[in-house]
């Protein structure tokens, strides 16, 4: 039999249900591989002992009706987990142990999942390369000293390196799809309101969504089914009919109208990204789909809008870190001095930069010029998509304007780092679902992704289109285990 860790999520579930494998065998296999993979720095906290204990408890009285029967899963360290340290990649939460469980991780536990650890991420999910984490850089298993993307960089690295059979991330401007694209894995950002935000360390509340990261579209459908539930604990959670995404998964895209937005052909985009996109278009045509040229005229304004809205919401959300009730505290001469020193020493540079941008755009005299203006442009961007969806069922674009870059390459130029999210940010602003699937390699051998964007709450369609693309592309990730001696 092949290695346990080479199996995909749906295959593992199947083997456990058929009693070909026990939960303990599977859990120990992923933990052993994780232990050998410290060089990747994918984990912030390990929960190995408890996980093995829980796997053995599962095996004593297995419930095979569960969707994740005794399956080990490592999750992004942005999800609060009861009695397991939750840091959000920040010094300010280095010793924070939540007294409650996030709804999404609770859903995973309720379906029989076992949490094996908490994965590295950019500090408070602010970054596109996992380089802003207080707990250090994460290596992309594709090649040494390559970023795994961000902010869900520990998640994408652990998944691609097979340290976990599936994982979950959060996506505020591309933080699931971009790291998925950089590591040759699948990542889905659901429609805003699909997955509960309860218990997720907040970054920008009107944009944040949790979503699955997996090896393939089938696994992704299963994970989404588990994660997406209506939750009264999140006031923006939406009640709608959630599908049996996995059962309904099919590759029939005949007569589906797929839009190609001309504004996404940006200047200076590498030729190989363009070719990748053409390859996707060709597959859709060959499978009976219809290609429709569309226009999203305000695309170029999405990033500037995002860099007002997201920091503004972040500055407000992060005001709670004051060193009083939890988290890091620095000594000060008085209360205000304590606040200022705590936040200065507890936050990293990128987080401070964004808090200050946000504070500025919300401050007296600038609110109308920046924040209100950005909210208005956000409306225009959403209107673009509404118009497009009168003509098409889904939209196809590249996931990122380039493949993964080297650690340190973009660290000193915030704007160049932000440009990485040019194809992903508009989707968060419009609250739509989108999936990134691996679709090819560039000439350096690094993975490239294609993004399928759907109508609100129509995750099933983008999963089906992605499934059809995946079948025809048959992508292979060339990962050599270079980090294991």
């Amino acid at each position: 039999m092949s290695n346990i860790t080479d199996l995909k999520l749906v295959e593992l579930v199947d083997k456990i249900k058929k009693k070909e494998l026990s939960s303990a065998e599977v859990t120990i296999a992923f933990i052993e591989r994780s232990k050998k993979s410290k060089k990747l720095n994918a984990y912030i906290s390990e929960n190995y002992e408890n996980a093995i204990k829980n796997a053995k408890i599962f095996d004593q009285k297995p419930d095979f009706k569960k969707k994740l029967p005794g399956i080990p899963i490592a999750v992004k360290d942005l999800f609060c987990s009861k009695n397991i340290r939750t840091t959000a990649g920040s010094k300010i939460l280095e010793n924070f142990v939540p007294t409650y469980e996030s709804t999404v991780t609770q859903n995973i536990l309720d379906e029989g999942g076992i949490i094996i650890g908490k994965l590295n991420c950019d500090e408070f999910a602010m970054g596109s390369s996992n380089e802003t984490s207080y707990f250090g850089n994460v290596q992309n298993p594709v090649s040494e000293n390559l970023v795994p993307g961000g902010s869900s960089g520990g998640s994408s690295s652990a998944l691609a390196a097979k340290l976990t059979p599936a994982t979950i991330g959060t996506d505020t401007g591309g933080s699931i799809r971009q790291p998925a694209s950089f590591t040759g894995t699948v990542g889905l950002k659901p429609t805003y309101g699909s997955c509960s935000r309860y218990g997720i360390v907040a970054f920008a509340s009107s944009l944040d969504q949790a979503g699955p990261m997996t090896h393939d579209v089938k696994d992704c459908s299963l994970m989404l089914e588990i994660m997406s539930t209506y939750d009264t604990k999140d006031s923006t959670s939406v009640e709608f009919k959630r599908e049996s995404y996995l059962n309904n998964l099919n590759e029939n895209i005949k007569e589906k109208k797929i839009g190609i937005p001309k504004e996404y052909r940006v200047d200076g985009m590498p030729k190989e990204i363009d070719e990748l996109w053409e390859k996707g278009i060709k597959i859709i045509k060959e499978n009976g789909g219809k290609i429709v040229e569309i226009s999203l005229p305000n695309t170029n304004y999405a990033l500037p809008t995002y860099y007002i809205v997201a920091p503004a919401e972040a500055s407000s959300n992060l005001a709670r870190y004051d060193g009083v009730k939890y988290g890091f505290r620095s000594k000060g001469e008085n209360l205000i001095d304590m606040y200022e020193k705590t936040r200065s020493e507890g936050f990293g540079d990128e987080v401070k930069r964004r808090i200050m941008i946000g504070t500025y755009v919300l401050s007296s005299g600038y609110y109308d010029a920046y924040y209100l203006k950005a909210q208005k442009v956000r409306r225009l961007i959403k209107n673009d998509f509404d118009e497009a969806y009168k003509k098409v069922d889904a939209i196809l674009t590249p996931s990122t304007p380039s493949s993964a870059f080297k650690i340190g390459e973009k660290l000193n130029d915030p704007v160049s780092m932000y440009l990485n999210d040019i194809f992903t940010v508009p989707i968060n602003l419009a609250g739509l679902p989108a999936i990134s699937i691996p679709a090819g390699h560039d000439k350096k051998g690094y993975p490239l992704g294609l993004q399928v964007i759907g109508k609100a709450f129509d995750e099933q369609s983008i999963l089906n289109i992605a499934f059809a693309l995946e079948k025809n592309i048959s992508f292979k990730n060339n990962i050599t285990d270079w980090w294991i001696k």
Partner: protein
């Protein structure tokens, strides 16, 4: 528009983040490059556009006013950086 050192210091005060002069200079540079990128929005006429404040067009639901909390005071206090048995402790506020 340029953000000068005085403004950076003012924002840092509003943000409750202390900052020394060297850092403030570097941050001022970063903020200026970010804001020159943001200025692009002024190309758009939004006089007649309504701001989009929330993407989820849901009405807030009412729920019963029930006590759901568990007895977790001790667990919560465990996370406090400076604590005694029953309270959160902060530097002296009233002389």
């Amino acid at each position: 528009m340029t953000i000068d050192l005085k403004t950076v210091k003012h924002i840092s005060k509003l943000s409750r983040i202390s900052i020394d002069d060297n850092k403030a200079k570097k941050l001022g540079k970063d903020l200026n490059s970010i804001f020159s990128f943001i200025e692009k929005l002024n190309e758009l006429d939004t006089k007649n556009t309504e701001p989009l404040t929330s993407i989820a067009e849901t009405k807030l639901k009412l729920r019963k006013d029930e006590i759901k909390s568990e007895n977790i005071r001790e667990d919560i206090l465990k996370n406090s950086p400076d604590k005694n048995k029953d309270f959160f402790v902060v530097p002296k506020v009233v002389e």
